[in-house]
Each structure stands twice: as structure tokens, then as C-alpha cells.
């Protein structure tokens, strides 16, 4: 168990530290400049914040609760579903929020480099023609999308962390 953790974790840590944007030339060679390339870049970059936070969250699940679950006859699957996953949930959601922010950044950069449409393409094009108004609209759209993603993450937190005193609203 420890061995695999070391093996897997050091590999992941190495890959993690490769900036996703450095992969752009490779991604263009592999996937062309179609949507697949963008999907690939975004998947790679949002994976790590979620992975790291999930790992951290599982590590920090109270061992006393796991011991209790075992002694109350929970199966491995039940233990995972009832104790470990909910215990790691607040960390997982932190990773998710971080990833949602990162998602827009990567998408926009990917669009500015190789695209025929999209907000990034729009603003880059507008820059060439000195259309400040279009650039501003693009930026406002980013802000709006970022806010939307945050609202989504908050809704998840409200749903899944209702039990958590730190996340309870006034009405709870």
C-alpha cells in the first residue's frame, strides 16, 4: 500500500508540475486545433487540484471514525461511502472550486492560441483591431462565467456540507 502510494504519488507530482500551457505544442501535434485539444488541456489542468485535495481530504478523515465504522461491521464499500467520502468532501469541494477557476483560465488561453471562435478568440481579434469595447465585453463575460462557476460550487457545498457547522447558513 505504502509502496504504491510512493510510486504513484511521485509520478503524479512530476506530471503535476508540468505547466499545462507548456503542453500546447504537443497537444496541437496530437489532437490538431479542434475542440479535442482544448478538452484535453482543460482535463489535464483541472485534474490536479481535485486530485491533491481529495488525497489530502482522505488522509485527514478522522481515524477514530474509521475504526468505529469497522467495529460496527461496515463493509469496505460502506466504509468508503459512509465515512471516508463524506469525511473528505469538504476538501474535495475546495479542489473543485479551485479547478473551476482554473478551467476558465486554461480555456481562454487555449482559445487565444488556436481557435476560430470563442471569447478568447474574440478578444484577441478585437485587440488586433483596437476594439476596446469588445475586449471589455470579453473580460466582463469572463467575470460572469467565473461567478457562475462559483455559485455552482457554493450550491454543492450547501447541499453536501449541510451538516458542517462552518457551512451552515442562518436559516439552517
Amino acid at each position: 500500500m505504502r509502496f504504491f502510494e510512493t510510486l504513484l504519488d511521485s509520478t503524479v507530482q512530476m506530471v503535476r508540475n508540468v505547466p499545462a500551457l507548456a503542453l500546447i505544442p504537443l497537444v496541437i501535434l496530437w489532437f490538431g486545433i479542434e475542440e479535442t485539444a482544448k478538452l484535453f488541456l482543460i482535463s489535464i489542468s483541472v485534474f490536479f487540484p481535485i486530485y491533491l485535495n481529495t488525497f489530502h481530504g482522505i488522509r485527514n478523515v478522522d481515524p477514530q471514525l474509521i475504526e468505529m465504522g469497522r467495529s460496527y461491521g461496515l463493509s469496505r464499500w460502506q466504509l468508503y461511502r459512509e465515512v471516508i467520502l463524506p469525511g473528505a468532501m469538504s476538501s474535495i469541494l475546495v479542489g473543485l472550486r479551485f479547478s473551476l477557476g482554473l478551467m476558465w483560465v486554461i480555456l481562454i488561453v487555449a482559445e487565444t492560441i488556436s481557435a476560430q471562435s470563442g471569447i478568447g478568440y474574440l478578444t484577441m481579434n478585437a485587440r488586433e483591431f483596437l476594439r476596446t469595447d469588445v475586449v471589455l465585453v470579453g473580460i466582463l463575460l469572463y467575470a460572469l462565467l467565473g461567478k457562475l462557476a462559483d455559485v455552482f460550487a457554493r450550491a454543492l457545498e450547501r447541499g453536501w456540507l449541510r451538516w458542517h457547522p462552518g457551512y451552515q447558513g442562518k436559516t439552517a
Partner: protein, 266 residues
């Protein structure tokens, strides 16, 4: 809870030893507990009483010797044994009733609600554990243990963190449920008064051995104001306090700062 009064587990320890590295926590312990008895294990902290409980629960393995439940060796977790920990260990993300039903099939929910009512928390079934007081949490933990209809209930200082009034209430609750359900109970505690209030037999563990095994014949419910109660409590407490230093190993870290202080004084 079912009406059938199942008999408790007969528990035996034969030459039971437990070592952590070099340190021997339990030494050739011999013990025999009748079905349905209420046993209290007292002792100073670090005397091995919690270790004994963890061995009985199957959470740890003995280094030597064995434990028998109804004549069968305990080598892992058992369905008829349930443990109540020092902390309530409720899952904060499950509501009170869902904590009680942990590990039970769905059709046992009404029974869980019934047990919750027995510990007096029926109206808090839909609350989050974070909103309960310490005593209420331990009552939920008690319900969670009892809903499995254990034939052996292990109590690892479950009342240690509660205030005096709540403790007396919990004593009464545990005693009445024990009388009603007939399980064998094994209570680990550092509180001699609690041991005398609840147990049929008080066992003192010292340096991993049984130093005293006293049967208490006072009628139940026991009142702490009773002179006979006070006499037994005093006798056991005196015996616990007889050995001023728990073990020579404990002296090591104490000597050093004293020597230091002396040097400064000179």
C-alpha cells in the same frame, strides 16, 4: 428492541499478554466473566485497561494467550460485541437517527427509532450531531451500540468527559438498559465511584495484572449516599492509591528536569 432476552457472552481470558515493542502492557492475565455480569475495570491511566478492552473488541490481537467468547477464540471483530468509545464518534454528516441505523438494513429503521426513544432522544432524531450536547451524543452512541442487540457491550470510559449530573443520569440509563436486555457489560473507567455504582464486580488492573477482584453485592439501584457504598468505594480507592508510582519507567522523564533545576539552584 426485541422481546427475547438473549443471554450475554461468557468471556474468558487465558494467559493473555499484549506487548507494544518492548513494553508489556498486559501480563498473563487470567479472567473469567459470567454471562450477563456487569464488570468494571479500574486502574491508573496506562495500566492496560483500555488495551484489554480493545483486545476483547477484536480491534487488536493478543501477543500471547487467548480470549474466549462462549468458548470460541476472539480473533477479530464480532457481530455480538459492540463498543462504546470515550468519544461519541458519531458521523457528523448523518442525522441522529441515521447514525443509529449505521450498518443496518433499511427495514430496521423503525427499530432504531424505538431504541433512540429508549435513550430519550426520540424528538432529536432529525438533528445533526453537531447540535447535540456531549451527554446527548453519548446517548446516541449508546443507542447505536444497542440497536445491534449486542450480547457483550464494551464501554471505554464513555462518560469520562461528561459533567457530574449527566453522568448520574447516564449511569441510571445504562443500568436499566442492562437489566432489561441482559447483555454482558465490560466498563473501563478511572472513576471508582462509577465502577461501584454500576458493577457486579470491580477489577483493578495494575502493571498489566489483576491486583484486585471485588464482588459488589449492594442492592440496585445503588445510592452514593449509602454508607456501605462509601465504604466499598473507599476500600477500592485506597487500594488503587497504595502504589504511589505507577512504574519505574515513568520516573525517567521526571528526573531530568529535577536535576536541571538543582544545578541552577546550586
Amino acid at each position: 428492541m426485541s422481546d427475547t432476552k438473549e443471554e450475554g457472552v461468557r468471556l474468558q481470558a487465558q494467559g493473555l499478554s499484549k506487548r507494544y515493542g518492548q513494553r508489556e502492557v498486559l501480563r498473563h492475565l487470567k479472567l473469567s466473566i459470567e454471562p450477563g455480569q456487569f464488570i468494571a475495570i479500574v486502574g491508573r491511566s496506562g495500566c492496560g485497561k483500555s488495551t484489554l478492552l480493545r483486545l476483547v473488541a477484536g480491534l487488536e490481537q493478543a501477543s500471547e494467550g487467548q480470549l474466549l467468547a462462549d468458548g470460541q477464540p476472539i480473533d477479530g471483530l464480532r457481530e455480538e460485541v459492540r463498543i462504546m468509545f470515550q468519544e461519541a464518534r458519531l458521523l457528523p454528516w448523518r442525522r441522529v437517527l441515521d447514525n443509529v441505523t449505521l450498518g443496518l438494513p433499511r427495514e430496521d429503521r423503525p427499530r432504531a427509532a424505538q431504541v433512540l426513544a429508549q435513550v430519550g432522544l426520540a424528538e432529536r432524531a432529525g438533528e445533526w450531531p453537531a447540535r447535540l450536547s456531549g451527554g446527548q451524543r453519548q446517548r446516541v452512541a449508546l443507542a447505536r451500540a444497542l440497536v445491534h442487540q449486542p450480547r457483550l457491550l464494551l464501554l471505554d470510559e464513555p462518560l469520562g468527559a461528561l459533567d457530574a449530573l449527566t453522568r448520574i443520569e447516564m449511569h441510571r440509563l445504562i443500568e436499566s438498559l442492562w437489566q432489561q436486555l441482559g447483555f454482558t457489560a465490560l466498563l473501563v473507567t478511572h472513576d471508582v465511584q462509577e465502577a461501584v455504582a454500576l458493577a457486579d464486580r470491580v477489577i483493578l488492573i495494575e502493571d498489566g495484572r489483576i491486583a484486585l477482584d471485588e464482588t459488589i453485592t449492594l442492592a440496585r439501584p445503588r445510592s452514593q449516599g449509602d454508607p456501605a457504598f462509601a465504604a466499598i468505594e473507599k476500600r477500592i480507592l485506597d487500594r488503587v492509591l497504595q502504589k504511589p508510582d505507577a512504574s519505574p519507567a515513568d520516573d525517567g522523564p521526571w528526573l531530568e528536569p529535577v536535576a536541571h533545576a538543582l544545578r541552577w539552584a546550586i
